[in-house]
Subunit: 373 residues, 2 copies
């Protein structure tokens, strides 16, 4: 992926809303003969479809979807075969929730905040400004009751949810001017989706939505003043360093965005228990792999940005962060008030965060400030 060209990357990022709706997914009993196996045996075979919200084979995220399908195929000895479709190849990128809910396809690989319009509480399972980082979010999901709430939230939609990755802490974004105080957010036109966009609006800016393929041009032409994307690796591939002068950190708006796999519940329940466990376990492996991959690639590409392209790094001041944090708390509470399930999920999320803080202060916080580095 190192030789990845921005042109290819943009082409992939622009794959859009074309594409029809899939036929009902097949599930056909077939022979399962394998060379060298002690005996011929027949087991029910499944051919599933996984749509994704990413361009096909998109670095790390789409690659993760491809690997997930391959691991499931391999572990099941070919019993559960999953064809992966990039966003727009089979259905539009952001229609995966409905397609899986209705059983048009069996799986969607994406991020829960894309479904905020279906259920606002989904956002707590993806990214909350000034929320938890990847390690803490995983602790809440796996060991703090988060996963049960996620299933409860998705059950009415006939969906099963699983975490499949995390981006780690993102970068704060590319700006064509310096952001020295909160006043600099007044009138700022920034491409920033989700809850982060609502925070920017509270700060006096306007959150603009642009498809991935339009961001670079909009930034270059001054249609927008700023954009966030992901982190050094993906931002390098997008070439934003040619269109905006200042690269701000930290990514307060997405401190550890979780990626998600959703599975049609009816289809999942028809699988034998061994195949159910295969799917769950492949998802968890992907979760471990993806964060590792982000950490490794972002490390390498931060160096490329600063040494090859003289990118100007700027840190948001503590005062700016403090003000944005205040707006974020307002935004979180607004989400929590939308419906009872959002309130319930937020209560669990917030309690876990408050409980882990004193421990983090003695452990990971000091790792980064006094042990590592």
């Amino acid at each position: 992926m190192d030789q990845f060209e921005r042109r290819d990357f943009l082409k992939k990022a622009t794959i859009g809303v074309a594409g029809g709706v899939a036929a009902l997914a097949g599930c056909s009993p077939a022979s399962d003969e394998k060379p060298g196996a002690p005996a011929v045996h027949t087991r029910k075979k499944y051919e599933w479809k996984m749509v994704t919200t990413w361009p096909p084979h998109f670095p790390i995220l789409g690659e993760g979807a491809d690997m997930l399908a391959r691991w499931i195929d391999e572990m099941s000895g070919g019993q559960l075969k999953i064809t992966v479709y990039g966003g727009g190849e089979l259905i539009p990128p952001l229609e995966g929730f409905d397609a899986v809910s209705q059983g048009t396809v069996e799986m969607c690989h994406g991020a829960a905040y894309y479904w905020a319009g279906k259920a606002p509480a989904t956002q707590f399972f993806a990214a909350v400004p000034f929320g938890m980082n990847g390690q803490q979010l995983n602790a809440w999901i796996y060991s703090g009751g988060g996963l049960d709430l996620w299933q409860e939230l998705y059950a009415p939609f006939n969906l099963v949810a699983m975490p499949v990755g995390n981006t780690g802490v993102q970068m704060g974004g590319w700006y064509n001017r310096e952001m020295n105080s909160i006043a600099d957010f007044h009138g700022l036109k920034m491409r920033i989706p989700g809850l982060g966009g609502k925070v920017i609006a509270k700060a006096g800016g306007s959150a603009v939505l642009s498809a991935g393929g339009e961001i670079y041009t909009n930034l270059e032409r001054g249609v927008i003043d700023a954009t966030e994307w992901i982190g050094p690796y993906h931002d390098y591939l997008m070439g934003f360093f040619r269109a905006a002068k200042y690269y701000y950190y930290p990514g307060w708006h997405e401190p550890g965005t979780a990626l998600e796999l959703i599975v049609n519940r009816t289809a999942f329940e028809q699988l034998s228990s061994d195949l159910q466990r295969v799917v769950e376990t492949a998802a968890a492996r992907s979760n471990a792999w993806m964060l590792s991959e982000f950490e490794a690639k972002n490390s390498a590409y931060l160096g490329k940005l600063t040494t090859e392209h003289n990118v100007v790094l700027r840190r948001f001041s503590d005062e700016v962060l403090k003000t944005l944090r205040g707006f974020s708390v307002e935004v979180e509470n607004e989400v929590a008030e939308v419906d009872p399930m959002s309130k319930k999920v937020y209560a669990s999320f917030d309690a876990f965060r408050k409980n882990i803080d004193p421990w983090a202060a003695l452990s990971e916080k000091l790792y980064y400030s006094a042990i590592g580095g």
Copy 2:
């Protein structure tokens, strides 16, 4: 596990060196009839043994071994059954490396630094004082070339290695006196194994080894002045708060200890590729789960220690940490000089760490100091 009693915990922790050597592990073709399956089929079945370095069902670590075996059983549809033995139940806890190498048992669940006597470089795959934390160590292993080096290191022993978990940042340990300056380490008798013990020795103390079940009594009677163990959850279960006054942080000596699964290479290569993938994927799931579990449980039990037992928390001063870091660098370099493989592994470890630092400074470090909390 919340009702876990210190007495039971100590009993488990004292399970010792008794126990014979296992018979050669069985591997018997058998019928694989399952109720409701479309057709009867016969696949080769395996019955394996996994020894562990932990007491049976030891919180998180032993539980992780149990879950690993269960996931593999379930995913393989009962084709690969693994019986888990606590340390001392089948062989002494620290003889797993030889037993798996020789094929006496197929698997051992433990930590790589227990095998420093076999190959010093193993320590870089477990815990290095002032080394990387769990997230960064995983990034090196999965995405930075670490896993290939681990296999290269273990190949002469006929072993395959996989990461299966991480403790997260540990605590600095329990002390019966305040540690205000590096001079306070002179003459200190501390139970601390591994590279951390070598650092303590350089600081003028003496590193004492005690079996888990003897630590409490030795600390209470003044045979030792201090001990490290793991973190708030396990330390609470051990009741150390009754035997020492000061609980120090951070755990500079083990900032993110990786747990390991080793598999006899011959046995592993005899598995069909689907079963090989099942083992690898279960290991990665365990890796994600274990760190989450440590984070969640340590958060909860830190609160119990401070609110229920008025434990006095003390932070090592920056000056103490700086001096210990200097000794740690000496210790690392001494390990790297022992043999060419240690030098090679250390070079990769150290290069990855130096490369990830600038990225961590813009991301996770600021998460802990300016975004979260």
